[in-house]
């Protein structure tokens, strides 16, 4: 008991811990109170250190189908998650109940469960020196006072633009408008006190062309931090219609080895596979095909992949990571050479390195365009091969890099799209696929956390008829 009391006394007094940015309303002050209560209760129960994240969000989504409102959903969520450390042993708990008794009970559960875990030297909070001290306004919070009536009108306008576009559009899955905002706070017993506000609004549409066995579906969407940045409903609807119509009369692709172009919406999946393979959790378990590859040429010269956590108004922006560590822009791949891994404080200690502020993942990971070309120009460069517009299934093995997924797309000959194709797979190995990147287009997909233009790969195996 004596020892624990000493540890406690070494901490900065409560009053010195400033929340940044300062809370501005009752909801935020309440989240902070919940976080402080959880931390102080953890200290009372003898935890040597602790970290807590508390969040609250609200929003609504509305779907219009065949011109009528089909569903309206209102949501309001909150949760508290706490991790406690007893020296190098850890325990965790979470709850959705913010009553003081429930919070204390939750902290007690985390402490109780920690008695049964074993000491792991790598457990613990991140080094204090790495914690964020600057909290730039990344312009992420734009709440939208969207009424049900207005939401219904926007979604209806979007769907109707799609349905009116062409008589071959035979059915619809409707148009959905969604708006969400949340506040999250993160605090640890080393004095970190961070608050984040964010909003996300989206408009999506999906329609069907053809009848019976020949039906095809596709979709389009836009998403933004601020409602004013969303594409016009009509534009989203018309793009949906065009994307779906081009799939009409799809044939089964033929088997063979062909060059492949990934459209931007599917090209980002290659970045997702890269993220998994350079994630510390997979590396220290020897479960990645990119083990010990720092400094190695894993992409062709000229390829740059970088993380941009401070990009204003972007989907993946954050001033600090999931452990309060200051994020910073950096190259993951420069001139084709792997520069670094994605680590949090635990995986960094496991690998004998320093955290890269990637608790919670990589932020705004982008593969830079290698050419000014778009999809059409890349198709001309390819000459003959396949454009992939959609991938299904989970046939990617991060341990070996083996890759085999179902696909939809278009057959290209003489540099032009000839007809849509379906019911085929594309297969290869990610190590080779990364090296086979011949060009990255300038038609960059920027709505999500992963950003890429169309990507041309020299060669993959296509299995079809």
């Amino acid at each position: 008991m004596k020892h624990m009391k000493d540890t406690k006394d070494k901490r900065a007094p409560q009053a010195n811990r400033r929340w940044q940015p300062a809370p501005c309303d009752e909801v935020e002050r309440n989240l902070i109170a919940v976080a402080e209560l959880a931390l102080s209760h953890a200290a009372d129960l003898g935890a040597s250190t602790a970290a807590v994240s508390v969040g609250q969000g609200q929003g609504m989504s509305l779907t219009v189908r065949h011109g009528e409102v089909e569903t309206v959903e209102h949501n309001r969520d909150k949760s508290l998650g706490i991790t406690v450390y007893f020296e190098h042993r850890s325990g965790g708990a979470s709850t959705t109940d913010f009553a003081a008794a429930a919070i204390r009970q939750s902290v007690a559960s985390a402490c109780e469960i920690a008695k049964f875990t074993e000491a792991d030297d790598c457990n613990g909070l991140p080094e204090r020196a790495l914690l964020a001290t600057e909290f730039p306004d990344l312009n992420l919070f734009h709440p939208w006072a969207l009424s049900m009536q207005q939401a219904g009108e926007l979604a209806a306008e979007c769907e109707s633009a799609a349905l009116r576009h062409d008589p071959r559009i035979s059915n619809t899955e409707g148009a959905t408008i969604a708006s969400h905002q949340e506040v999250d706070v993160y605090a640890n017993s080393d004095g970190f006190r961070g608050l984040e506000r964010g909003s996300q609004h989206s408009l999506s549409c999906s329609v069907i062309v053809g009848e019976g066995n020949a039906m095809q579906r596709d979709y389009w969407y836009d998403a933004a931090r601020a409602a004013a940045d969303l594409s016009a409903p009509r534009e989203v609807g018309e793009t949906t219609a065009r994307r779906t119509l081009r799939r009409l009369d799809a044939r089964k692709a033929r088997s063979g080895e062909f060059p492949i172009i990934f459209e931007p919406l599917v090209a980002v999946s290659l970045l997702s596979h890269l993220s998994g393979a350079i994630n510390g959790a997979n590396l220290y378990r020897n479960a990645s095909f990119l083990l010990d590859k720092i400094g190695a040429q894993i992409f062709p010269a000229g390829v740059r992949i970088h993380e941009q956590p401070h990009l204003p108004k972007s989907a993946g922006a954050a001033a600090f990571d999931g452990e309060g560590v200051a994020t910073r822009a950096r190259d993951i791949v420069a001139d084709g050479v792997l520069q670094g891994y994605a680590l949090n404080s635990y995986t960094a200690r496991k690998l004998g390195a320093q955290t890269t502020a990637n608790a919670g993942g990589l932020r705004n990971l982008e593969i830079e365009a290698t050419t000014a070309d778009d999809l059409q120009a890349l198709s001309r460069q390819m000459g003959r091969g396949l454009v992939v517009s959609e991938l299904i299934g989970f046939g990617v093995n991060t341990v070996t890099g083996d890759y085999s997924r179902g696909a939809f797309g278009f057959w290209v000959d003489n540099g032009e799209i000839q007809y849509p194709v379906q019911e085929f797979t594309i297969a290869g190995n990610l190590s080779q696929m990364f090296r086979d990147i011949a060009a990255v287009g300038a038609d960059t997909e920027r709505r999500g956390n992963l950003r890429a233009g169309s990507i041309l790969l020299n060669k993959m195996t296509v299995a079809g008829r």
């Binding site: 959705t96 920690a114 059915n171 069907i208 299904i392 079809g464």
Partner: protein, 483 residues
Amino acid sequence: MSQRLQIARHTLLEPGGIGDREINQLLGRLMAPKIDYADLYFQYSRHESWALEEGIVKAASYSLAQGAGVRAVSGDKTGFAYSDELRLSALSEAATAARAIARNPSAARAAEGLQRQPRGNVRRYQPIDPLASIPNQQKVDLLRRAEKIARAADPRVSQVMVSLSASQDTIVVARADGLLAADIRPLIRMNVTVIVAQHGRREQGSCGGGGRYAYGYFTDHQLADEYPREAVRQALVQLEARAAPAGEMTVVLGPGWPGILLHEAIGHGLEGDFNRKGTSAFSGRLGEQVASELCTVVDDGTLDNRRGSLSIDDEGEPSRNTVLIENGILKGYMQDQLNARLMNAQPTGNGRRESFAHPPLPRMTNTYMLNGPHHPQEILASVDNGLYAVNFSGGQVDITSGKFVFSTSEAYRVERGKVTYPVKGATLIGNGPEVLSQVSMLGNDLQLDSGVGVCGKDGQSVPVGVGQPTMKIDKLTVGGVAL
């Protein structure tokens, strides 16, 4: 009052002061004119997870979630809101938001009296608390045992990761038609993943299972021994695997988990919502031949203690055994309340939701194919050149075009009736309404999976089961790299 309802009321409703009167009041608020159906769904959910790796119990956590979902349905329109506070004022607010789906909601109509746990009050599992079923130390012992067995199985094992989890879900459904029903759902799961290394090559193997049991299930059946041995065996097979073939060929699927084929290829396509909207490749095809005569497929939520089983669904409807395909003929769809009413069909106990924060959808429970006439050996012996796939990692389907995929994690080449060598993971792709017509032989060795399935739809995950006997598909596209 049933024991489940009594416990559920005590856990969920009484702390917030919610009784019959309050429930009636809320339903009354929801039942504005033009509202055809309304329900309340109360949930109290506890979950724990334990993880061992590198020889130590590294992480353990406990979570608690509670709340209520409130829904009003008018024709094919749904208004849905929820609250994580089980107090009357919060729920009234949610009810007001939900009923706004009806145009011009006005004076509320009082609901009928509540009718408790009616028809088919059958229990498919015990209302136990798996979290408290053994002391924490024994959970740690289970993890350690599994890791020890895995390490001892082969010197090439370089990493062992063992996880153990349990949850208990207590729910109460109150419907505007007067139904009041409760369920207490235990669920446990154990999983072992190993990485093996040999001459610089690394491969992974994984095995697990569980169901609606107490933790004792794992010890009673020596599963902490069986799962690690099986995971190691699978990983070692992969060390020898050669490039998978690419192109159309005969595929024999092993029994059990490969039933994921049924889940993806036809299961989703037979969910009521897609068929009501005419967006499924199976829309309007009831009574048609969609599979070879060998094939009879059911969705059965009534199996005792299975991962996908339910005593009642999330709309209070008793779980059923629904015939989807009988001797190749499409017989039925899986329905929730909304789609059953709009399609003039009976609900089939398939109304499921991930939690109170998600609206119910028609979802599968345990989907499997019944036995056929053939001996599994006879089936393999009949294959001249093909693939024998016994384990899969997952799948997906495009409902509208019917195209589905599922990816092998253990498969072998079959040549002249003999299983010759293992091949690397490959995605198989086919067309749902056609693939079962290609079934030319069906085994007599029906197995259900070990209790690992998770199904995702519209962003909602629910536990499911699959199963089938050995099955020969004359032609399916195999997505390997070897042309």
